[in-house]
């Protein structure tokens, strides 16, 4: 076309980013890559092809790592870790800073490699992925610098196995590697088989930065290699990917005592109220669901529009979709690139074709090959499969709502809980709805905003753990401690059935009422001399069901003011203090010990501690680079079940209950198995302390019997266990079902000491929700 022709048509024409330098880099590396282990690239042996999804051309050969490769990588990381940690935060900060600088210096190379390998538009790789990856390393260079001063008492976990997905290959690497390295860990990372190139380029940058050998190891290959990493002798697994694989990892690591971070799928709601800036909300969807072709875990893929504006909104949306440009991802004027692999494209097509809704495919030209048009499906109900299933493609589904309450209800009608967007010009509406959404991230009048300083992560089957900010460092550190083995505590035995003056029937405590066990069985409890001192009910799975129902129903507790919750905790302490002698005697009698008085005193103090904390465990405003607030809120998890320690029948129970309820959770507590009668006395204290019904529920019985039911119960958000390795294993295996958070301790904790309380408990009792509120008059 001549200039004169274009003067009339005003077409964009092609604006391709040059691929020459990136292709030259691949050629320079031999176009065949081995794994990066112990500071060097191993010779490639068995390889597979990595292709450009946009063109189908083979970019390079990548190694399918073997068990020996994974072992070598883990061993190298193990050898390097002690020295890397001892280098100190300030020493490590220099390396992270150098890596950030190198990422910046090679920004264009990385962006082009990413686009060629993944198919995402060059604009996104250039303007979003790579700058955010740099930012992550800069931010965490700072975290390394500050670690010794600001995180006293925390240390590295050791060797971290990290498995990342193909949708943001370099960015997810940065999210995983930067905090791990900053805190003194070493890593073995596996990029996704479809997109290994930027990770290998990063390995090259590690060499240039002079990073000590073995600190970063990159092993490549398919899911089998991921399984090898999971099975290897690592101290941590961090995984970003599908819920299905996350569930497998949860099950595979159950009982190993290694911490896990899972960042999984989503079906994130995008809520538009009638008073929103409609044009901006429509444009926001371009960033929500057509960003990276919708292949984004937190994509706003579920549109909820207020009924009165839905027709007008959909009309504007369809018009906007029709103007999207889809094609060669290296073209600078492309909005939607290629789908990562033909396999993924076929999956998307099958899901859409099976839909019962009204399908609008954008009228834009779609090139042949691995492309799928932006798609809107309207007329769906919450029961439609596509309202529930993650598509992981450029497909938006839509439904309507009537009121803010209904918006939250429909939004939360999902197994997932990663992110959400709320559009309203009314600050009251927006800030009312945001806390009600089951999501780890909420964007008000925006979408897909990320920053290294702001925690990111999900709830429900979107996983657990946070990445970014101070909160994210929890996932790569542990308390400095020399754990002692947990000694089993046996119940006292006896046969003597002396008649009691007046029989006292201990019961379960469910929904604010004393309840007989469903099974109708009780267990005899004896004192040190073998005398019968009472019977403890044996709870079964139906009692668990009832307790969880009661806890779920007590939802008002989460909304009670922190001051109010503190008052209740103090009131419990007051009433316990009034009966201190009685409880001390009961503890001594039931445990056969003599330190009951000290335990009661410690329990009263613990209640005071969490009364104090109730209104002081604050969220934080993260310093994200924008005009607005990125607020990391501390929200209650919901319903927490705790299998309390055996050894301290009162203090152990209080140490689990108090932080949980202080933060607004409701609890199902399984009392000390050998010494249950202290807990059944304790509910009398609760009854006199204005604790709302259902906030605290107490079960007695065998931990090993109750643990599977608690672990698999999908209406429990978190389970804590302090009952040893066997119960821990049961809990973690069962938790794979709904991917609830678990805190399972296998070692002995000094419940009488300082480590029996504090931030560790409060962090376990809260979920971090990051609410982004950009503003501007």
């Amino acid at each position: 076309m001549t200039v004169k022709d274009i003067f009339e048509t005003m077409d964009y024409g092609a604006a391709p980013e040059a691929a020459g330098d990136a292709l030259a880099w691949i050629t320079d590396q031999g176009a065949r890559f081995g794994c990066f282990i112990d500071g060097a690239f191993a010779a490639p042996v068995e390889t597979f092809e990595t292709k450009s999804p946009a063109t189908g051309e083979v970019l390079a050969e990548i190694t399918q790592a073997t068990q020996a490769d994974v072992d070598a990588a883990v061993n190298a990381a193990r050898r390097a870790q002690g020295k890397w940690a001892r280098l100190g935060g300030k020493g490590r900060a220099r390396y992270l800073y150098a890596l950030a600088r190198l990422l910046q210096k090679h920004a264009r190379l990385l962006a082009v490699l990413e686009t060629m390998d993944n198919g995402k538009p060059i604009r996104e790789a250039r303007d979003i992925d790579v700058p955010l990856a740099q930012r992550h390393f800069y931010h965490h260079a700072g975290m390394a610098q500050l670690m010794d001063a600001e995180l006293p008492g925390r240390e590295a976990l050791g060797v971290c196995g990290q498995i990342i997905p193909w949708n943001f290959p370099l960015l997810m690497l940065a999210w995983k590697v930067a905090p791990a390295l900053a805190m003194g860990n070493t890593v073995v990372l596996k990029p996704a088989e479809w997109t290994s190139l930027t990770a290998l380029c990063f390995a090259d940058l590690c060499r240039q930065a002079g990073l000590p050998k073995g600190v970063v190891n990159i092993v490549t290959g398919d899911g089998a290699v991921g399984e090898m990493i999971v099975a290897s002798d690592v101290d941590k697994i961090a995984f970003t990917g599908s819920t299905e694989v996350g569930r497998k990892i949860r099950a595979a690591t159950a009982g190993r005592g290694i911490p896990l971070t899972l960042e999984l799928g989503g079906k994130s709601p995008y809520i538009v109220f009638e008073d929103a800036d409609i044009d901006s909300a429509v444009e926001g969807l371009v960033d929500a669901i057509w960003f990276n072709g919708g292949q984004v875990c937190c994509a706003g893929s579920r549109l909820l529009v207020q009924e009165g504006i839905s027709e007008a909104f959909h009309a504007k949306l369809r018009a906007r979709m029709d103007k999207l440009r889809i094609g060669n991802p290296l073209d600078k004027s492309i909005d939607v690139g290629a789908i990562v692999d033909p396999e993924q494209k076929n999956r998307i097509a099958a899901l859409v074709d099976a839909s019962d809704g009204v399908i609008h495919r954008a009228a834009c030209a779609v090139p042949d090959g691995c492309y799928y048009p932006p798609t809107l499906i309207t007329g769906l109900s919450t029961a439609s499969p596509l309202m529930q299933e993650e598509v992981f493609g450029p497909v938006l589904v839509s439904t309507t709502f009537r009121t803010p309450a209904e918006a939250a209800e429909v939004a939360n009608n999902t197994r997932y809980g990663l992110a959400a967007s709320v559009w309203s010009e009314n600050i009251n509406t927006a800030l009312d709805v945001a806390p009600k959404l089951a999501a780890g991230v909420v964007w008000v009048n925006g979408t897909n905003m990320f920053d290294a300083a702001a925690p990111f992560g999900g709830v429900r089957e979107s996983g657990f753990g946070r990445e970014g900010g101070w909160e994210g460092l929890q996932a790569y550190t542990k308390p400095v401690a020399k754990p002692k083995a947990l000694k089993p505590v046996a119940a006292l035995k006896g046969e003597d059935a002396e008649p009691q003056p007046v029989d006292r029937t201990a019961k379960l405590y469910i929904g604010g009422k004393q309840a007989r066990p469903d099974g109708g069985y009780a267990r005899n409890i004896f004192d040190k001399r073998g005398r019968l001192i009472g019977q403890a009910p044996i709870a079964n799975r139906k009692d668990v069901r009832n307790a969880v129902e009661a806890a779920r129903a007590a939802k008002g507790w989460a909304g009670a003011s922190a001051h109010n919750r503190a008052q209740i905790l103090y009131y419990i302490a007051e009433n316990l203090a009034a009966r201190a002698d009685e409880f001390a005697a009961r503890i001594d009698l039931t445990t056969g010990g003599s330190k009951g008085a000290a335990e009661v005193e410690a329990a009263i103090s613990r209640l005071f501690t969490y009364g104090a904390w109730a209104d002081k465990f604050d969220g934080r405003v993260a310093q994200a680079p924008m005009r607005g607030l990125a607020v990391a809120l501390r929200e209650p998890c919901g319903v927490i079940a705790a299998l309390c320690p055996d050894a301290f029948p009162l203090l152990g129970l209080v140490s689990c209950m108090a932080p949980a309820i202080a933060m607004g959770n409701r609890t199902v507590l399984v009392a000390s198995e050998p010494f249950p009668l202290v807990a059944t006395d304790f509910y009398q204290v609760l009854e006199t302390s204005d604790v709302p019904a259902g906030v605290v529920n107490i079960l007695t019985g065998a931990a090993s019997e109750l643990a599977p039911t608690l672990a698999s119960h999908v209406d429990i958000e978190a389970v804590w266990s302090f009952c040893g390795a066997d119960v821990a294993q049961t809990i973690e295996a069962g938790a794979a079902g709904n991917l609830k958070r678990t805190w399972t301790e296998r070692t002995a904790r000094d419940w009488m000491g300082d480590v029996g309380e504090g931030r560790e408990f409060l962090e376990a009792a809260t979920e971090v929700k990051t609410v982004w509120v950009p503003y501007g008059a």
Binding site: V3, D277, M626
Partner: protein, 337 residues
């Protein structure tokens, strides 16, 4: 437009005035003030700024396309001089530049030998000189009016000024609205004022300058845009060039979205003119992309889109010479306007 040239746009490489003859865009007659619509207008600044900030990274034109787009930008320029020291000689030079915006050898190479700017924009006293200088070219003369730039002279004089300028030969009148009506939420007052201005313009097209830099919020910009269109504005325009903040991409986005809504609801296309602060060729391309994306190709013509600019043309000339020769250019190689 009143001009009656019969050549096609392709033949002349120019001119809304021409294509308007064949397919004249019906003038927006205005509609009754719809306060419900006005009050529902929302503008979320952060979201709008995000869209505006990412747009230049989303669209890029290269080589022939870039040259064509820059030529298109020239065809949409209201080449402007609005200074207290304007003289007939200065205006004559400006009009000559409007007729020959780029060196002839460059235009010949591009295949657009007849390219001109969209209009020339002057104060009232310069209209006669400009009309004479542009005689026979089809380039209209636009006059700023109604007590430009502050708009605070007596109302009857503002009306009279419009009538005088039309009588003097201005085919387009750039009026300034009373900012105080917006700032006090007097939408009826703004509507009535605009209706009166439009009526005074008669056959001349009226561009309503909102002075967005003085309206305080983007929501006010959105509402003022709607009210002026309801009152019959042919164009809405950002600014006088005299405010401390003039045309910006976020403000443009708000205004053209209002234009789009107005078209969707009434079927009338209203034009858009960003003015002040656009001085780089790259910025011009970004504006054209914004219009193409949000309003569509039909608006990429001088009867519906203008740049109010004085120094933009110089930068475009250098870029075009670079396109033709492959060597970077210098300002002294191009005749000044």
């Amino acid at each position: 437009m009143s001009h009656t040239d019969t050549m096609t746009a392709l033949e002349t490489g120019q001119l809304p005035q021409v294509s308007a003859t064949h397919n004249p865009e019906p003038r927006n007659p205005g509609i009754p003030l719809d306060m419900d619509w006005v009050m529902r207008a929302r503008a979320n600044r952060s979201a709008i700024e995000r869209r505006a900030a990412t747009l230049p990274g989303r669209r890029s034109v290269k080589k022939e396309h870039q040259a064509a787009w820059l030529a298109r930008a020239i065809s949409c320029i209201d080449l402007t001089t609005l200074s207290g020291d304007d003289t007939p000689g200065r205006v004559l030079r400006l009009c000559t530049k409007a007729r020959n915006p780029v060196r002839a050898d460059i235009l010949d190479t591009l295949g657009l030998p007849n390219l001109t700017t969209g209009a020339v924009c002057v104060y009232h006293d310069m209209i006669g000189d400009a009309v004479r200088a542009l005689d026979g070219t089809g380039i209209p003369v636009a006059a700023v009016s109604t007590g430009f730039p502050a708009g605070l002279s007596p109302f009857h004089l503002r009306i009279a000024e419009i009538e005088e300028s039309v009588k003097a030969g201005a085919e387009e009148i750039d009026i300034v609205i009373s900012r105080r009506l917006v700032l006090r939420g007097d939408w009826q007052g703004l509507y009535d004022e605009m209706v009166a201005f439009r009526k005074a313009c008669g056959p001349a097209h009226v561009k309503a300058i909102l002075a967005t830099g003085e309206l305080g919020t983007l929501q006010n910009v959105a509402r003022a845009s709607l009210v002026c269109m309801m009152a019959g504005a042919d164009f809405i325009k950002t600014s006088t060039g005299k405010e401390s903040v003039n045309a910006t991409l976020p403000v443009s986005l708000v205004m053209i979205r209002a234009i789009r809504d107005f078209y969707d609801r009434t079927g009338f296309r209203v034009g858009y003119k960003p003015a002040g602060g656009i001085s780089k060729a790259k910025d011009a391309v970004t504006y054209l992309a914004l219009i193409k994306e949000e309003l569509g190709d039909r608006w990429l013509r001088p009867d519906l889109f203008r740049f109010g600019a004085s120094s933009l043309l110089g930068d475009i000339e250098r870029q075009l010479e670079h396109h033709v020769t492959g060597a970077y250019s210098a300002s002294w190689r191009h005749p000044i306007g």
